[in-house]
Amino acid sequence: MIESISIALEQPKHEPPTGWRRYFGFSTDHKVIGIQYLVTSFAFFLIGGLLSMVMRAELITPESDLLDRSLYNSMFTMHGTIMIFLWIFPSLVGLANYLVPLMIGARDMAFPRLNAVAFWLVPVFGILLMASFFLPGGTAQAGWWSYPPVSTQNPTGNLITGEAVWILAIAISGVSSIMGAVNFVTTIVRMRAPGMTYFRMPAYVWAVLSAQLIQLAALPALTAGAVMLLFDIVAGTAFFDPERGGNPVLFQHFFWFYSHPAVYVMALPAFGIFSEILPVYARKPLFGYRVVAVSSLLISVVSVLVWVHHMYASGTPGWMRMLFMFSTMLVAVPTGVKVFAWVATVWRGKLRLDTPMLFCLGAIMMFVFAGITGVMLASVPVDIHVNNTYFVVGHFHYIVYGTITMAMFAALYHWFPKITGRMYYEGLGKLHFVLAFVGTNLCFLPMHLAGLHGMVRRVSSYDPEFAFSNVLASLGGFLLGMSTLPFILNMVGAWVQGKPAPDNPWRAIGLEWMVSSPPPVENFEELPIVISGPYGYGKSEPLVSNEAALKPH
C-alpha cells in the first residue's frame, strides 16, 4: 500500500495519446482508465446478460428441461455475481473516474498509478471467475450470497473448487474497490480546484463521495466473512459449520453488513446521474441542491444500519426484526427528498426529451416503483410471505436494471460527445430507450405477481400455476436482450464515424463542458477558478472566472 502510494508519488509522466493503443496498456490517465472500466464492464454485462437469457429460456416452461439443475444453479450464481461485481460496480467506478477529476477541476486522480492498478485487477478477477467454468466441479453454485453450509459442501472433494475461486475473485474485487475508494475520497477531499467548495461540487460528486465512503466502511466486513469462509473450505476450520459449533448465521451478518450498503454504492451514483442530467434537459437549476447533496451522505449513514432486513426469516429474534424494519423504512425519507427534488426540477422547465433525458425519466419512474416494493419488503409480516420469492427478484431488478443500468445508459449517451468527440445517433438512442423500457416492465413486473402467489426464487422448475407470469417474463427478458443491439450499434457506429461533437453540445453548465471534446490529457490548461455554484441555468452567473484560460491558447 505504502509502496504503491509512494510509487504514485513520483509524478507520472503524461505521455501524449498514442491512438487506440493506449486503451490496452497501463495508462495512468483517469480518462483512459475510465473508458477501460466502461468497456470492460460492458463486456461482462453482455456475458452476465447471456447467462440470464439462458435462465429465462429454462424458465419459460415449468419443467427443468433445458439444463441440468446444477447448471441452472451455476447460472444464477454467476449471473448475480457478474452483474454486480463486474458490471454495476466497475461501470459506475469507470464513469466516476472519467468525470470526477473533470468536474472538480483537477488534472487527474490523486494516485494515478494506484488507479491503474485498481482497474487492471478487474479483468484479472473477471477472467479468474470465468475460468471456474472449466473446473471439474464447475462454478460456484450457492447463489451470490454463498451462504454456508451449502457453499461449503464439496461433492468433488477437490481443493480448488468453483466456490474457492469465487471467494478469491470477490476478494480481489474487494482489494480493487478499496484502492478505488481511497483514491476517490482523497481526490475529492484534497484536489478540488480553487474556489470549488463542497457546496459548489456537482451533486454527482457528492453521490460518488458518499458511495465510496460506504465502500470503505462496509466492504471490510465482507472481506472478513470471505476469509473465514475460505478457511472453512480449504483449511477445515469450523467458523460456519454447525456440526462443530460454528454459526452459519454469522456469515449472513457479515455478508449483508456489506451487501446491503453495497446496493447504495450502486444506487447513489445513479442518483447523482439524475441530478446532473435533469437540469441540463429541463434548463433549470437542480431543485434544493444542498439538501440533495447532503441526503446522499445521510443515505450512506443509514444504509449501514439496516442489513438485517435480508435476514428476517433467518431466525432473528423479534426485537431485531422490529428495529431493522424501522431503520430500513427510514431510508425512504432521504431518498424521497431526492425524488421530489427531481420532480420539482423538471416541473415548469423547458424540456428537451433527448435520449439521456428519456432514460433518466423512465428510470426515475421505475425507481419509485422499486422503492415502494422495497418498503413493502421492509415490513416484516409482508416480507415473511414474499422473502425469497420472485417478488424480491422483481424488486431488485427494477432497481439494478430499471434504475441503475438505465441511469448508466443515460450517462453514456449524455457524456458520449465529451468522451469520444462524436455525436451519437438520436434515432437509435430513442429506439433503445423504448425497447429497454417496455422490456424491463414486461420482464420484471410479472415476477412480482409470481412472487406474491408464492413462487420461490432460485428454482429450475416450478408449479404450472406460475407458467403465465414466467412466459411474459421470458419474453420481456428476450426483448431486453434485443434492446442492447441498437445501443451497441449506436456506440460503435458513432465512435467510428459519427458527426464531430462540439465542446458543449447540450449547452450544459459544468467544468467538464468547458474543455474540448475529448478533453486534453492534462484536462485544463490552467486550473479553473470557481466562483459560483453548479446548475446556474436561467441565471447569468459565470461558473469560473478564467474560462478562456482553461483551454490551450
Partner: protein
C-alpha cells in the same frame, strides 16, 4: 455594491496564483491522507473479526475445546509490553529524523524492528506450545485467525521498516520530506492499538 466588487477583485489574483502553480498539489499530503483513510477502512476488518469473536463466544455453550483450560497470560503480557513500548521508540526515531539526526534515527528504527521481531518470535513460541490447532473447533479457528491476521500485520510493518531503513542509506533521500517514514510509523501505532484490543479480548476476557 461597489465594495463587493472590490473585495472580489482582491481575492481573485490570490486564487489565480494558486491556479497558475501547476505543481501546487501537495503529493505528500495526499499520500498521508489516503493512507489514513485506508487504515480506517482496514480497521473495519479487525472490528468485524472482533464482533464475530464476541458474538460466538457469547452464544457457544462449549466454547473451549475439550481438555483446554484457557490461555496462559504471563508470556503474552511481556510480549504486549514490548510491542507497545516499540510504539514509543518509533516515535523518537521519527523525531530524530525530523531533526536530521540520521544515525540516531537508524538506531532507534532498528530497535523498533528488533522489538517487533521479538514479538513475532514470542508469538510463534506460544503457538507451538498450544495443545489445540486451527481446526480444533471454533475456538481454535478464531484464536489462530485473529492472532495470525494481526501477526501478518506486524510482519508487514517490519518489512516496511526494513524498506525505509534501506532508503535512509540513499544519500539525500529524505531531503524532500519523509511521508514513507511517517506512514510506516503510523501503521506501527495502528498495529499496536489493534493488539491491545485483541489482547483484552482473547487473553484477559476468558
Amino acid at each position: 455594491m461597489d465594495s463587493s466588487i472590490t473585495s472580489e477583485q482582491s481575492i481573485q489574483p490570490a486564487l489565480a496564483d494558486v491556479a497558475h502553480d501547476h505543481e501546487a498539489h501537495d503529493h505528500a499530503g495526499n499520500s498521508m491522507f489516503g493512507f489514513i483513510v485506508f487504515l480506517l477502512s482496514e480497521s473495519v476488518i479487525f472490528l468485524s473479526f472482533f464482533a464475530g469473536y464476541a458474538m460466538i463466544k457469547l452464544t457457544t455453550p462449549d466454547w473451549l475445546p475439550p481438555g483446554v483450560e484457557g490461555l496462559e497470560v504471563s508470556a503474552p503480557t511481556i510480549n504486549t509490553i514490548v510491542l507497545v513500548s516499540s510504539s514509543f521508540v518509533i516515535y523518537f526515531a521519527e523525531r530524530a529524523l525530523k531533526q536530521n539526526k540520521l544515525v540516531q534515527f537508524r538506531l532507534l528504527w532498528l530497535l523498533t524492528m528488533a522489538m517487533g521481531t521479538y514479538f513475532l518470535v514470542g508469538q510463534a513460541i506460544e503457538w507451538r506450545g498450544l495443545q489445540f490447532g486451527l481446526t480444533t473447533g471454533i475456538y481454535g479457528g478464531l484464536f489462530y485467525l485473529l492472532t495470525g491476521f494481526h501477526g501478518l500485520h506486524v510482519l508487514i510493518g517490519i518489512l516496511l521498516q526494513g524498506l525505509m531503513l534501506g532508503r535512509s542509506l540513499i544519500p539525500n533521500n529524505y531531503a524532500n520530506g519523509h511521508v514513507g517514514v511517517d506512514e510506516t510509523s503510523l501503521f506501527w501505532h495502528f498495529v499496536d492499538v489493534i493488539w491491545i484490543v485483541l489482547f483484552c479480548l482473547i487473553y484477559l476476557w476468558q
